[in-house]
């Protein structure tokens, strides 16, 4: 895979999966409030 492919994969996965996990953690935090 080319460098642009690796970069795109990293950016997309960090954004989407990272965003999802962050939002889940936030939900967990506030569910305890």
């Amino acid at each position: 895979m080319s460098a642009s492919g690796w970069i795109m994969m990293t950016v997309v996965l960090v954004l989407v999966w990272g965003g999802f996990v962050y939002l889940l953690l936030e939900t967990a935090k506030h569910d305890r409030d």
Binding site: M1, L13, V16, T27
Partner: protein, 487 residues
């Protein structure tokens, strides 16, 4: 059903139910093919843009409509902006009902393939023959269509907390675990990197192609579940203090995450087993072709393939069922809003869906027609929801119904801009493009013929027929759901 059972009990309950609604078969069988066929990484950029330029604003609008009016699509629009416009919301609800009729057939296929894999295989015939035998059989698709509806209606008859919430608490975490296991298995296959390259390597010139942007918009619109009326229905069961802006973002990110997991699993498996030319052939074979003909063959060629194939069809069945129960709940809500008891509405929905799903179970051509007409109808539903918000006042809608005093993450001004300008423009662009496809590509000879499977005539004919019926019934319907006078 008791009042206590009428609302989601926790934020997790709301969130998992909404993610279950969004993640369906389209994430698993459509996203990987469409992404790979439209420039890989370039498609992903456009797809990410439409999360905010279509899906999230409509999900926010639906939550707000359901929560504020305490009605599903049958009455929410009329209650918000006046009975004269009630048919706009009714169209949204009935469009999704038409999808439900054939979606339970799809769910049945997934369950059938799971059972076939677990029970030791496909009877010694090749996959093409097995699929043709299934779809041309008179009783097998009907039996599994019936089974899917019985399971779905049983869950819905248990109510919001004991039915929808408990089921999704079980289905969705397992679905994500299965997708993660499938993705890890796939990336550890030899030559899996070719699959990743096709999925992620950007072809920058493709960003100038209108086709890439329109395919990305279609995928986002269909996948996240915006404008299906399903979120509106779940919004009815929010407590007054329940905020939903973060939930809406989480649903969209969860749906996109599931798509990426499925994309990695499928693309890596396809490219690990097949040479490039054949891999492209497999990806061009359509949703059913890829899932029910190619993937079973491919899994059989990898170590422990039978086990992973069973896990794959289990994930697909869970994804389909979690979406199907949202559709059954929405249809039930239409009955309840029209004055029926829930106890009567659930079996009525089950029987109606079974009978009206039979043509799709018997004829693949009819199934494809309905998938085309009502899948595209969801874009009309998106426009109708945005028109309802615009009529109410998009800024007022955001300030009064979304950014309530309990909301810690208020929606910004971008919401108003997208609803007022971006969604109507996207609607026009999508319609022009899809209609052009229908006339120039799918059926150049018979594009006008309402009895052709993928013609412009069949699409406009069925939409206009539904709209005409709803407009004729509008006064009666609006009165039944307690819509506001006039408009």
């Amino acid at each position: 059903m008791s009042e206590r059972n009428d609302q989601f009990s926790t934020r997790w309950g709301i969130l998992l139910a909404a993610i279950g609604m969004a993640v369906g078969t389209g994430n698993i069988w459509r996203f990987p093919r469409v992404a790979a066929a439209n420039g890989g990484g370039s498609f992903l950029i456009a797809w990410l843009v439409f999360m905010f330029a279509w899906s999230v604003p409509l999900v926010l609008s639906e939550f707000a409509l359901g929560k504020h009016t305490r009605r599903g699509p049958a009455g929410a629009v009329g209650h918000l902006i006046g009975g004269r416009y009630n048919w706009l919301g009714a169209f949204v609800g009935l469009c999704t009902c038409f999808i439900m009729f054939y979606y339970s057939v799809v769910t049945g296929w997934c369950i059938k393939y799971f059972f076939a894999t677990v029970s030791g295989g496909f009877g010694g015939v090749d996959q093409q023959t097995y699929w043709e035998n299934l779809t041309t059989s008179n009783y097998q698709p009907v039996l599994f269509h019936f089974l899917a509806l019985v399971i779905g209606c049983f869950i819905i008859s248990r109510g919001v907390v004991k039915g929808i919430e408990r089921t999704n608490r079980f289905l969705i975490p397992i679905l994500f675990v299965l997708l993660v296991v499938a993705a890890i298995r796939a990336v550890t296959l030899p030559n899996a990197i070719s699959g990743l390259a096709f999925l992620f390597t950007p072809e920058w010139n493709q960003l100038l192609s209108h086709k890439v942007w329109l395919e990305a918009l279609s995928q986002s619109a269909w996948s996240v579940g915006a404008a299906w009326g399903l979120v509106m229905t779940y919004g009815v069961y929010l407590k007054k203090k329940d905020a939903f802006v973060r939930t809406s973002y989480t649903v969209a990110f969860g749906d996109y995450s599931a798509s990426l997991l499925a994309g990695i699993a499928i693309m890596c498996t396809v490219y690990a087993v097949l040479p490039q030319a054949q891999a492209e052939l497999a990806l061009q074979s359509g949703n059913e072709g890829l899932t029910f003909i190619w993937l079973p063959q491919l899994f059989q060629q990898i170590p422990a393939g039978q086990l992973f194939l069973a896990l794959f069809f289990l994930a697909l069945s869970f994804a389909a069922m979690s979406s199907l129960i949202a559709m059954i709940e929405m249809a039930t809500r239409i009955g309840v809003d029209l004055g029926m008891t829930r106890e009567k509405a659930v079996p009525l929905v089950g029987v109606t869906a079974f009978v009206l799903g039979l043509p799709s179970a018997w004829k693949l051509g009819f199934f494809q027609n309905q998938d085309w007409v009502w899948g595209l109808g969801l874009i009309v539903s998106g426009l109708f929801i945005s028109l309802a918000v615009i009529k109410y006042g998009a800024g007022r809608f955001r300030d009064e119904l979304i950014n309530t005093e309990d909301e810690r993450h208020p929606a910004g001004r971008w919401y108003v801009f997208v609803i007022k300008y971006v969604i109507p423009i996207e609607f026009l662009a999508l319609m022009i493009w899809w209609f052009y496809q229908a006339v120039a590509v799918y059926d150049p000879e018979g594009w006008w013929n309402p009895f052709h499977t993928l013609s412009l005539g069949t699409t406009l004919g069925q939409w206009l027929l539904l709209i005409a019926v709803l407009v004729l019934l509008n006064r009666w319907w609006a009165a039944r759901v307690g819509a506001k006078e006039g408009g």
